[in-house]
Amino acid sequence: MKLFSKKNKLRLAEGNLLVIVIILMVILSFATKNFFTVNNLRNLVRQTSVNGIIALGMTFVIISGGIDLSVGSIVGVASIVIAKLLVGGMPIFPAIIIALVVCGALGAVNGFIIQYGKVPPFIATLGMMQAARGIVMLLSNARMIAGLPKAFTGFAQLVFAGFPSLFFVWFLVIIVTFILTTKTIFGRNIFAYGSNIEAARLSGINTAAVTLSVYTLSGILSGLAGILMTSRLGNGIPTAGQGYEMDAIASAVVGGASLSGGSGTIIGTVLGALLISLIQNGGNLLGINAFILQIIVGVLIVASVWYDQIRKTTKS
């Protein structure tokens, strides 16, 4: 099996996750009437795509040893900016570009503060989380922006070859980020940077460029997620993305990324995002109390890291 060949070996954590995801899907298919229906699966994929894309940006930041708490607020920025531009009559394509540039710039500001101000990532992005949400509220007067063109809101409802359009966007991001992390110098440098920043610098790696690019990338991907979410919901929503930073961090961590930096994989994060969505979606279908589901997700996050630690200590 190619996936398990020496060259492209799935890590143990990923292998286990894949098995858990599949088992959960099989169980849900039998246990509920509605899980294995076209409608539910499409809905599941649409929901996961948005979180999944943010989590991929977060994975870069976490591999670099940082954290980005501002992604949820940046989703909100994207939602309001694109809605304003479209309602103002701008064509869709340039509006998307502008929204992405704005979100990328906010991410770059994070990177700049962390690199040149030596502010810990947690603090820098916590500040950005507050400030960006404030910008959203100012721009929108804390009101929903309605009246988006059909061509834009229709996109999220499109289905190609049985899959919802958002899935293809997510899939594209997965491919690009997978190649970035595993095949490029940039990817190698992020891992080295996250593992030991001083060794990376003394090996000639431009550490400032790495800091700026991971946070910019995280901003752009959050922006993309915000745009897709706006298309799906049909309105510009000022509270969009609230709390999403936690889902994104959880997906990456459950997928095997370590907050101490230097480890994490794209496939792991994708599976982590899927698992969290499955628990929520399946739980709803089984009629499990939503608060209990929240507890389950909490336990899952801690348990997966705990398990990872046990594995590491018994190995060494």
């Binding site: 060259k7 095949k183 490029t184 110098i185 940039f186 990817g187 190698r188 440098n189 891992f191 080295a192 593992s195 030991n196 001083e198 060794a199 990376a200 610098r201 003394l202 090996s203 000639g204 790696i205 431009n206 230097g262 480890s263 060494s316």
Partner: protein
């Protein structure tokens, strides 16, 4: 000497997955005895310590203190029994003061229930003074030099009245004067009846300070004997079956053109008008006491620290180096002092670390050519004889010597011309040291230039062609190989 040992270990065995780390090892340490434990890395020294300190549990055998069998399951219990260890990686709380570290967990209280800080700092100052450690007890650990931190860690064991103190490579970070202070402390411990276990790769220290020595090899007990009945080369032959004489015996090759010239390097009060040159095929030694600016000189050349003034010429060409990447592009490779924190990405693979500085050469449009990457690693691992099952092994799992080889491989992949070795053999066993020396010899044979920094005189004297001696940031003397003598070098290093 008393007849009953304080610590007695009998028939200790420990099995790890795949390795028998210890096989029926005996060790007895008497009160007031300084007992040396020697052996190559992997011989089982650190396993023994960890078993004494309760970090690992023995599979077989008995351990007794004063004739009473004990089962220590963690470090806190060991502490309560009066067992203490001073490791290379220090165990002080960095953001607390010296006094707080000494009294941690047992602060004296005043009548009103508040901590009696005066008592804390007075007591701490007394202990430090009695040991000739000259430092203010209110300073935080992070404000101290690494050498001073170690002194403080040792003083803490005295403060806690430990009955057995284990020193693991205590002199690795210390200058000669500080080693004298350390030995003074050990003598005081000894005089007050404390048992000391002393581990060091520097064998001559064992003859200065220890009473008896136990040699381990591959987890087996080889011999225990009084140090006065043995000598360095005999110990080495017990350890590895090699003799000492050829330790530093490397070939010195004819020198080529000048590769590096440094003129009037200045950086604040740290570096003052440093000038020297290095030729192809030459090993230029840099010697000085801790804090003399040895490391700072090479970091300045390498672009790791900013300088105030000074000029660097490579192949006669004036170069301005502001970032390590420029130094690397010009063919300079640095093996930093602290390989774990500055030299290696420990949580990454050998494959990644070897190629870290030279991905440009094995990529197309920034895409890494994975096959070339692996080929290069495999080749380097073979050439430098890195002991590892695979190039996908994490560097953190390798021994010190093999880690150092990975860094050398990294610079070989960059086609570096000038190799800067900053304390290349700290904490590395005898066998690996020799291999590193051979590699340095090989580099000079191929016409590369080497700058070798070492605080260990026999090493720098044994290897270098010339030695620049630093004292408080100035390089007052450059000594030719024919003029090398320990006395001269030490005098220059002390500013005399």
């Amino acid at each position: 000497m008393e007849t009953r040992p304080f610590l007695e270990m009998k028939g200790i065995s420990k099995q790890f997955p795949g390795v028998k780390a210890l096989n029926k090892v005996d060790l007895a340490v008497y009160p007031g005895e300084v007992h040396a434990l020697v052996g190559e890395n992997g011989a089982g020294k650190s396993t023994i310590i960890k078993i004494i300190m309760g970090v690992y549990q023995r599979d077989e055998g008995t351990i007794s203190l004063n004739g009473e069998e004990i089962h220590v399951t963690n470090v806190i219990e060991a502490d309560k029994l009066g067992l203490a260890a001073v490791y290379q990686d220090l165990t002080l709380a960095p953001d607390l003061s010296i006094g707080e570290n000494f009294f941690m967990g047992q602060f004296p209280r005043k009548k009103n229930g508040m901590i009696d800080w005066n008592h804390v700092y007075e007591k701490t100052a007394d202990t430090l003074k009695a040991l000739n450690v000259d430092v203010n007890p209110r300073l935080r650990i992070t404000e101290l030099s690494p050498a001073m931190q170690e002194m403080v860690a040792i003083a803490k064991t005295v403060h806690k009245k430990s009955k057995l103190v284990i020193f693991d490579e205590p002199t690795a970070l210390l200058s000669n004067e500080e080693v004298d202070i350390l030995f003074g402390i050990i003598k005081k411990l000894k005089a007050s009846g404390v048992s000391v276990v002393y581990i060091s790769h520097r064998l001559e220290e064992i003859f200065t300070i220890c009473d008896n020595v136990t040699v381990l090899k591959d987890g087996q007990h080889v011999k225990t004997l009084p140090v006065k009945d043995t000598n360095e080369s005999q110990l080495i032959s017990f350890m590895v079956g090699r003799s000492l004489s050829d330790m530093y015996n490397i070939e010195h090759y004819p020198k080529g053109d000048e590769l590096l010239r440094v003129e009037d390097l200045n950086r604040g009060k740290i570096l003052k008008d440093i000038s020297f040159n290095v030729r192809r095929g030459e090993i230029f030694g840099l010697f000085g006491l801790v804090g003399s600016g040895r490391t700072e000189v090479v970091r300045a050349i390498y672009g790791a620290d900013a300088i105030d003034s000074g000029t660097v010429y490579l192949n006669g060409q004036k170069e301005i180096i502001k970032h390590p990447s420029q130094a690397i592009a010009l063919g300079i490779g640095l093996l930093p002092e602290d390989r774990k924190h500055q030299g290696l990405a420990l949580s990454q693979t050998i494959n990644h670390n070897i190629n870290l500085a030279s991905y440009k050469a094995i990529s197309k449009f920034n895409f890494v050519l994975g096959k070339k990457e692996r080929e290069r690693s495999t080749e380097s691992v073979k050439r430098l004889r890195v002991k590892t099952p695979s190039i996908h092994q994490l560097v953190g799992n390798l021994s010190g010597g093999n880690q150092q080889k990975v860094i050398i491989a990294k610079w070989l992949c960059c086609e570096s011309k000038l190799f800067i070795f900053d304390e290349p053999t700290v904490g590395i066993d005898v066998g690996a040291k020799q291999e590193i020396y051979k590699l340095i010899e090989e580099l000079t044979r191929e016409g590369h230039a080497v700058i070798l920094i070492s605080s260990y005189l026999p090493e720098v004297m044994g290897l270098a062609d010339r030695i620049g001696v630093l004292h408080e940031g100035s390089m007052s003397h450059i000594v030719e190989r024919e003029q090398f003598s320990e006395e001269t070098l030490l005098r220059y290093a002390s500013g005399l």
